[in-house]
Amino acid sequence: MVKKKIEDLLVTGNQRLNKDYFILTLRSGDPLPAIFPGQFAELRVNHAGDTFLRRPISFYDVGREHHEIRLLIREVGSGTRQLGMLGPGDTLNMIYPLGHPFTMVDGKEFLLAAGGVGIAPMLLLGKTLKQAGKRPVFLFGARSKEQMFDLTEFEELGEVYITTEDGSMGKKGMITDHPILETGNFDGCYSCGPEPMMKAIAKLATGKEIFCEVSLENMMACGIGACLCCAQPTVHGMKMACVDGPVFNTKELLW
């Protein structure tokens, strides 16, 4: 197992994507440990009055050459808001890499379905799939166009389909209404986002008898398996989302 570390990383960029989303770019002084898609880091938030615990955030992208990590973050409360105020020259203390990543399985074409900030782990996953000679197909949902951002990086990896609830971008409706779900010929799917969405995707996968993994966002206190707070009931008993997950095969989950 890769050794976890606590490190102060240098913030080298903070790119605002829209009102709520931003991408933090961080640089480590040392070569990065192996980081796999679906893994996450626990970030210490300073100067946010009400943020006592660390905040779990997935890896959006990893640039091994320059020891660079990118995080896609959505502002939802005081912790993420404070992270949004970081700028070049600041440091960010994090514990990483954490969690059980997405699994690479046999097959050619894979659906990567994400809602909201569930998009975060999908870039690194898409890159890894493509490098392994597979074809990632992205299906992203958002409330409206304002909640979306430039998806060029995804488009370079594969087809990208969009749904928005108000129809201001892509197809109108929920992810689960998108025709690609029926017309696509997937060997498996990966999903991250609101629970109802992941459950719908899981149901579809079960119907088609294909592989399906989801990344859960259980509340976490320690992120390293010590506190037993992030419990997830599974067919193999109670599992911890921070070490046994956050990625689970949907067949395992007692949803």
Binding site: T51, F52, M219, A221, I224, G225, L228, C229, Q232, M238
Partner: protein
């Protein structure tokens, strides 16, 4: 070098810095971040007789300067502890103390008896204060008679150092401290979490699946400090203090209030190596203030002028 060694009855700890039950796994979760052998002791996650799945999720939520948990004693049971966990603990050069929990008096006794047979575990911490289980736990710790009975029963079968962990959810800490001492405890530890609750105003639902949970972290520190101070003045056995400790100063304050050793709980989640920082900081504090032994700190609190020396009436 200053002398950091402290004693819990006949059990000697190389220093007073230990980690709290349920907040440090079985130690192995933290080896990536620190040398856990440097700790005075590690208090393990609660051990029950049988395997327990714990409570449903969500089990955790954040609160101002603290957190609520309702883990509910999830563990694989005492036999698993003995066969699969215990052997792995021997590689570390520190004291492991098992946190023993149960729903019935018999369960406590049976676990204590089994752990008594383990040469590598010199002490148990009897958890009669868990607020997150329906039966047992805090029920024992908030009723004087039940507390006394369960401690006496365990005392009969357990021949090593018996530490009793007290609940803060009581009117009088001195009453329970004294009850533990009289029933045969070698030391007491406090505080366990304070029974509390969070509500999601938008969903109009409790946040935790169990509705209530236990509050821990810096928010509870002033309450914990008061209780440790009261306990120290009520009994002659050593007191182990905890509740919100996250800095060197916090640790010193608990020792000044009367703690012989301190446990670090929730703070481990925020700073995995915080216990080692505190250990090093205590050494520096002692040097700076010209103390030669950490034991000189215990209860070393100057009372304000005109303040009648405190002696709580216990009964």
């Amino acid at each position: 070098m200053v002398d950091l060694q402290v004693n819990l009855g006949t059990l000697s700890l190389k220093n007073p810095v230990t980690t709290a039950s349920g907040c440090f796994g079985y130690g192995s979760e933290y080896t990536d971040f620190m040398d856990i052998s440097r700790l005075g002791a590690v208090f393990t996650k609660a051990v029950t007789r049988e395997n327990r799945e714990g409570n449903p999720s969500p089990r955790m939520t954040e609160t101002p300067s603290g957190m609520l948990n309702s883990v509910g004693l999830q563990n694989k049971g005492v036999d698993y502890f003995i066969n699969s966990i215990y052997p792995t603990l021997q590689q570390y050069n520190t004291v492991f103390i098992a946190n023993v929990s149960g729903s019935t008096l018999d369960e406590y006794v049976e676990i204590a008896e089994k752990i008594n047979a383990l040469p590598g575990i010199p002490a148990i911490e009897l958890n009669i204060s868990c607020p997150n289980v329906k039966k047992g736990g805090m029920v024992f710790g908030t009723n004087r008679k039940s507390a006394s009975e369960v401690i006496k029963a365990v005392r009969k079968v357990y021949r090593k150092i018996l530490i009793v962990k007290l609940s803060p959810n009581v009117t009088s800490i001195p009453v329970f401290a004294k009850t533990a001492e009289d029933a045969g405890a070698d030391a007491i530890s406090l505080i366990n979490t304070i029974l509390a609750m969070s509500i999601d105003a938008e969903k109009r639902k409790p946040v935790l699946a169990t509705v209530t949970g236990g509050l821990s972290g810096p928010a509870v520190k002033p309450v914990a400090l008061r209780m440790v101070w009261e306990a120290y003045h009520s009994v002659k056995i050593p007191v182990i203090g905890m509740g919100g400790i996250r800095s060197v100063s916090d640790a010193i304050e608990f020792m000044l209030a009367g703690a012989t050793a301190i446990q670090i709980g929730t703070a481990n989640f925020v700073e995995p190596a915080v216990s080692i920082n505190i250990l090093e900081g205590i050494g520096k504090y002692l040097e700076r203030h010209g103390f030669s032994s950490v034991r000189e700190l215990i209860g070393n609190l100057e009372m304000p002028e005109g303040f009648e020396r405190f002696r709580p009436k216990t009964f």
